[in-house]
């Protein structure tokens, strides 16, 4: 914990000094950004914006989990179905969620639901693919052991295949959450009038408030870090930890 903090302090210092030396009138120093954050907090928008962004991510991500995990499990379980569906998945997957913006607006209008839809699209594919591959990669020895004990296919899926693929699914969820957070900013830049992504664009458009732009960027980064740390805590749960160590 010491060295990362030291590096952070050094970067802040370098930032401050370089703003001073260059004499820039536009680019804010760390102190300006701190003042900007304080102003946002005073105006009462900071927490509201954070809350709005988090809510959109949470809703879009949750829908992606609810749809993505079961369909991924099913596709992994029925390789024949996966063979049919996989080319479609692999074709739609590389389309950037940003490219969906016009379609989202047509389907959901300008606003909240479009933003949530973009997050959903972004999060769905990593979850779907991780769940599918998770099931495929379950060692046959586990399936055979399960079958040997006379489990019905449904019970085998629930008590062997799902827990055996859970570590891989969790990795997929973590990646998906990171991407969802990445996309919320882009989504808010076009579709809504609140949130941290909106703040970035709004602060620039209404008076070139670059202190607020950078403040919003910093908050986005910090929250992204917290989400990732939170998710990594899941990997320490003993029932899945085996999948994250070399020694199984």
């Amino acid at each position: 914990m010491f060295w990362p903090l030291l590096l952070g302090a050094a970067l802040l210092g370098a930032w401050h000094v370089s703003v001073l030396w260059s004499g820039s009138k536009i680019f804010p120093s760390p102190l300006d950004v701190r003042r900007g954050l304080a102003e946002l907090a005073r105006r009462g928008v900071l927490w509201g914006y954070i809350g709005d962004s988090l809510r959109r991510v949470l809703v879009g991500f949750s829908v992606a989990v609810v749809l993505g995990v079961p369909s991924g499990l099913a596709l992994g379980w029925y390789p024949a179905a996966a063979q049919v569906v996989n080319p479609v998945i692999q074709m739609v997957r590389p389309i950037s969620p940003i490219a969906w913006i016009p379609i989202a607006i047509v389907w959901f209008g300008v606003g909240e639901r479009s933003a949530v839809f973009l997050i959903f699209v972004a999060a769905l594919f990593p979850i779907l693919v991780a769940s599918m591959n998770g099931v495929r990669n379950v060692p046959s020895i586990f399936r055979r052991a399960g079958r040997n004990f006379g489990l019905s296919p449904l019970r085998l899926l629930a008590t062997v295949v799902f827990p055996a693929s859970l570590p891989q699914i969790i990795i997929g969820l973590r990646i998906a959450l990171g991407i969802a957070w990445l996309v919320v900013v882009a989504a808010e830049m076009i579709a809504v009038d609140s949130g941290l992504g909106y703040l970035v664009i709004d602060a620039r458009n209404s008076g070139k408030r670059y202190d607020l732009v950078v403040a919003a960027m910093l908050m986005i980064g910090l929250i992204g870090l917290c989400l990732d740390i939170g998710f990594r805590k899941l990997e320490a749960v003993k029932a899945v930890r085996w999948g994250f160590r070399n020694e199984g």
Binding site: R144, L166, R241, W242
Partner: protein, 259 residues
């Protein structure tokens, strides 16, 4: 040395008749097993012994119902084997334990039909039998290789099967642990009297454990000879009879290499 099969045919628990197996790969047919006739008696400890890759594991997988033979039949108590069955449990190397379940969870895994109280009682009994008391809440990753192997045996025994199939179960253990585990397995076998079919490529292991050792030839595997180990347990592994039987099998295997 004798092919002491005929006298057991009456009370055979498991019977393989004319079992053959060939794998197709790239349009080429590779025969792996040829015309295996084998009877295993109720409560017998039988070792399938042969060089690596000879097909003895394939035979075990057929007998256990995981593979279908290309020819021949396998029956248990007169019923043809149609697939894996909880009355016959296959024990893999210790990799077969479920890493997402605790020791308790693993041992109780096959007991989902029992009531909670029965299950707990059964789990406690088998954890004790294999000497894992005190580790009930531990996860496999916290156990040594030998402990994981005991855990897998306990999970198998807990569902009270008639037959245990063991596929080189101690192959991944160090030689000291392996010796201890053989003793443990014999102790458990004497307590529970399951029919055991045990695959190994280790001649010493086979002669230390088995009632009969089935020596298999190189691929395509046939039964080369069946050696009755007529030494009572606990076996003195430096007794003349032990050495005689062991060296006899060494000779057999040596011959098997001269094609």
């Amino acid at each position: 040395m004798q092919a002491g099969m005929e006298k057991r045919t009456v009370e055979a628990k498991l019977r393989a008749k004319g079992v053959g197996m060939s794998f197709k790969r790239d349009g080429k047919v590779t025969p792996v097993l040829e015309n295996i006739d084998l009877d295993v008696g109720e409560g017998e400890f039988l070792c399938l012994l042969g060089p690596s890759g000879c097909g003895k594991s394939t035979l075990l997988n057929i007998v256990a119902g995981f593979l279908e033979p290309t020819s021949g039949t396998v029956t248990i108590d007169g019923e043809p084997v149609q697939g894996p069955d909880p009355r016959r449990i296959f024990v893999f190397q210790e990799r077969g334990v479920f890493p997402w379940l605790t020791v308790e969870g693993n041992v109780g895994f096959g007991l989902f039909r029992l009531t909670r109280a029965e299950r707990e009682q059964r789990v406690a009994h088998y954890i004790k039998l294999v000497g894992l008391r005190g580790f009930e809440k531990a996860y496999p990753q916290e156990l040594s290789g030998g402990m994981k192997q005991r855990l897998e045996v306990a999970r198998a025994l807990a569902v009270n099967p008639d037959v245990l199939y063991l596929d080189e179960p101690f192959g991944a253990l160090d030689s000291i642990t392996r010796l201890i585990m053989r003793g443990e397995l014999l102790r458990i076998w004497e307590a529970e009297r399951k029919t055991i079919v045990f695959v190994t490529h280790d001649i010493e292991e086979a002669v230390q454990l088995a009632d009969r050792v089935v020596v298999m030839s190189t691929r395509p595997a046939r039964i080369q000879t069946i050696v009755e180990i007529d030494i009572p347990h606990p076996r003195d592994i430096s007794s003349p009879r032990y050495l005689e039987l062991r060296d006899g099998i060494f000779e057999e295997i040596g011959l098997a290499h001269k094609i």
